[in-house]
């Protein structure tokens, strides 16, 4: 069944802060095989003008995806998550995420479309630091494939 268009524009409450740990950044950088010193060596990061080690560009996805769980699991929206695939992903940064950041995510539903029986849901996540400054905006496009026989 098509998702209710009236959910477009709905904004969910900001999440409790996620604290970015330097060892979590190291673990993520190692998992993607990226040995760039700005991820693990504060001096190398400072030499590039950053106050502390920074996270790889896609690191913040897991933080915003967890926040998007509020939307995905909203019983009123009624998304069938067992049929969902990740369609598109986009990030727009004001600055890189760095160790010590306490990030809060405000998720909202930017668009709902129905194409060939598939439901397409665009969730925007606005990520701010503890001072309320914008860090990054993420867009997650989820595609719920049509149920068989639907």
């Amino acid at each position: 069944m098509a998702l209710d268009q009236s959910f477009v524009g709905r904004t969910y409450p900001p999440t409790e802060p996620y604290e970015v740990g330097r060892e979590k950044i190291r673990e993520f950088a190692e998992a993607v095989g990226d040995a760039h010193p700005a991820y693990t060596d504060a001096e190398a990061a400072k030499a590039l003008g950053h106050p502390d080690v920074i996270a790889p560009p896609t690191f913040v996805f897991s933080v915003t995806f967890r926040a998007a769980g509020q939307v995905i699991a909203d019983p009123q929206l009624g998304l069938d998550y067992s049929r969902v695939v990740h369609g598109d992903q986009k990030f727009a940064y004001s600055r890189p995420v760095r160790a010590g950041d306490r990030l809060s995510v405000t998720s909202s539903i930017e668009a709902i479309k129905s194409m060939a029986g598939n439901d397409i849901l665009d969730i925007r996540g606005e990520v701010h630091d503890e001072a309320g400054e914008h860090v990054v905006t993420t867009w997650i496009k989820l595609v719920a494939r049509a149920a068989e026989g639907a």
């Binding site: 998992a31 993607v32 700005a38 790889p56 369609g87 598109d88 990030f91 867009w139």
Partner: protein, 142 residues
């Protein structure tokens, strides 16, 4: 932000050094742990096949993380990335053998924008299939 590439030194069509990224089952288990994405399609072959996939597939976000390395290695500062977006078009299939899969990434400057930024278009393939579409980054150069 301290990119080592100068805006004035690049033209539309400038190619970035291409790279290949190997991925095997152990890579996926490690990425699952680091990212918190434990969907069994990324590590459990029988589950993957049950839901209609040819085999275990890589996390789309893993592929996205690898592709941008071509850009961040080029600029020298990962903080130079202003925007980055992709479409996941085909999965990277990762067989349980001693080779795994290879993600091959090339990139070129597609447009020179304002404020010392350029748009880089990326191409990522695995086993001859394009695995990312609309893959674009905007980066700030020196």
């Amino acid at each position: 932000m301290t990119a080592k590439i100068a805006y004035s030194d690049v033209e539309v069509g400038t190619e970035l050094p291409a790279q290949s990224f190997p991925v095997d089952r152990a890579t996926l288990v490690r990425y699952a742990g680091a990212s918190g994405d434990f969907n069994p399609i990324h590590w459990n072959e029988s589950f993957a096949k049950e839901v209609g996939l040819p085999d275990v597939i890589a996390h789309g976000m893993f592929t996205m993380a690898e592709a941008i390395r071509v850009v961040t290695d080029w600029t020298g500062d990962p903080g130079s990335v202003v925007e980055y977006g992709v479409r996941f078009t085909k999965p990277v299939v990762v067989p349980d053998d001693d080779k795994g899969a290879l993600i091959e990434v090339s990139a070129k400057v597609a447009a020179k924008l304002d404020d010392n930024t350029v748009r880089v278009d990326l191409t990522a393939t695995s086993a001859g299939q394009k695995v990312l579409g609309m893959s674009r980054a905007v980066v700030r150069l020196a």
